[in-house]
């Protein structure tokens, strides 16, 4: 199974939140609302929503990066015009969220939230800052590997996906119960982006590539 199970006791918050009863597997008729998806338009986005380094008066601190990839369906076809949202910690590992108690500095020039729509080739692209690792309270000395949260829509509500993108070679992978909740190593590996010199802009920003593949809809399966 690709996805993590709901109950993954090493990630403690799952213990009281994972459903305990059997899920119901209905047969959805072709007109079911879940087999359609909300659609979003360019006019609903702000001009700088895809450049997290230009949303304030100054430039954020940290390592400027380009994060891009394609949104694909299970057959490898591009998913066009789909809403991709991301959010992340700043370079010091601190979120611009009131609940984040990590005593690392906030950056007045970095909020860490963005949106874009995929192009005709299914491609999304963001300019941002490489996020820092940060501690959490799951267990003693728990640190999340650097990651960017992604939220994507497909062509069916059943394909709705929220996940996290990681950076290659992070030594914290081995200790992270959230990444390790995914049973198989090959599936974990698919959450790790790839440094790509062709995406990199010389003298300006490193580039990372990460494709996102949506699940089959029941109609296609």
């Amino acid at each position: 199974m690709t996805h993590p199970p709901y109950l993954s006791p090493d990630y403690k918050s799952t213990v009281l939140r994972a459903p305990g009863q059997d899920l119901v597997m209905p047969r959805l008729g072709p007109d079911s609302i879940e087999l359609a998806s909300p659609v979003f338009g360019h006019q609903e986005l702000g001009r700088l929503d895809d450049d997290l380094t230009r949303q304030h008066s100054g430039e954020p601190l940290g390592e400027r990066i380009i994060v891009t990839g394609r949104l694909l369906d299970a057959s490898g076809r591009p998913v066009r015009g789909a809403l991709v949202e991301l959010w992340q910690a700043n370079a010091a590992g601190r979120y611009a969220h009131l609940g984040d108690q990590h005593p690392a500095p906030l950056d007045p020039n970095f909020t860490g939230a963005g949106r874009c729509l995929t192009g005709d080739d299914g491609r999304y692209r963001f300019v941002t800052i490489k996020p820092g690792a940060y501690p959490w309270r799951n267990h003693t000395n728990a640190w999340r590997p650097a990651h960017i949260h992604f939220s994507v829509f497909g062509t069916a509500f059943t394909q709705r996906l929220v996940t996290q993108m990681y950076f290659p070679g992070d030594p914290l992978f081995a200790y992270d119960p959230i990444l390790r909740s995914i049973p198989e190593q090959k599936d974990r590996d698919r959450l790790v982006s790839r440094l790509d010199l062709d995406t990199t802009t010389p003298e300006w920003a490193l580039g990372y590539q990460w494709d996102i593949v949506l699940g089959d809809t029941p109609m296609e399966a």
């Binding site: 993590p4 909300p38 910690a89």
Partner: protein, 183 residues
């Protein structure tokens, strides 16, 4: 058939989405002055019965005639838009709300709203449906409800608080666990 790619695995939305995903008009699928506006509200509760203050609820529904919406406007709403999509983060007491219209029936399907819940501690979302209490006759013929053990069906039916307000609590775990769908 072409090669099947493995889907990208899901990960939790975590505790810190609150400044990024929710937006001011997210819960207002229709404006408050809409003549047919209803309110749907409730709480998200964990297996100990405690509120889940860091959940994100999304709804997606047909319009009042039962048609699947195809219009834009889920993020920036104009008064004439009906995108059928809503998003609301829970508050510290685990509460969420939406203002929308009651969807129409669609064929055999009784009127319903698709509901998706993301939260810290949910490694993948839970998916369910909200049905309306006044449609009991239609529920008897609804194909999805037919797949649900009879004793658990009431967890999918909202309670009417008044003529225009429905309460739908989502219990993630426990005795009265909401029916979740594998779709």
């Amino acid at each position: 058939m072409t090669d099947i790619l493995e889907p990208t695995p899901s990960q939790t939305v975590g505790p810190f989405f609150g400044y990024a995903l929710p937006y001011a008009e997210g819960p207002e699928v229709v404006p408050g002055w809409h003549p047919d506006a209803i309110t749907v509200r409730g709480r998200v509760l964990d297996g100990a019965g405690d509120p889940v203050p860091d959940a994100l609820i999304e709804i997606w529904q047909a319009d009042a005639e039962g048609r699947t919406p195809s219009g834009l406007g889920g993020l920036r709403r104009e008064s004439h838009d009906f995108s059928g999509f809503g998003r609301c983060g829970t508050d510290p007491a685990g509460r969420y709300w939406f203002r929308t219209v009651k969807p129409g029936a669609n064929g055999q399907d009784a009127p319903h709203i698709a509901v998706l819940v993301f939260a810290r501690g949910l490694l993948k979302p839970v998916r369910t449906r909200l049905y309306f209490p006044q449609d009991a006759d239609a529920h008897a013929n609804d194909p999805l409800l037919a797949a649900v053990p009879a004793g658990r069906r009431p967890t999918l039916v909202a309670e009417a608080e008044d003529a225009r307000t429905y309460r739908f609590d989502i219990q993630l775990q426990g005795e009265r666990e909401t029916v979740f769908l594998d779709i």
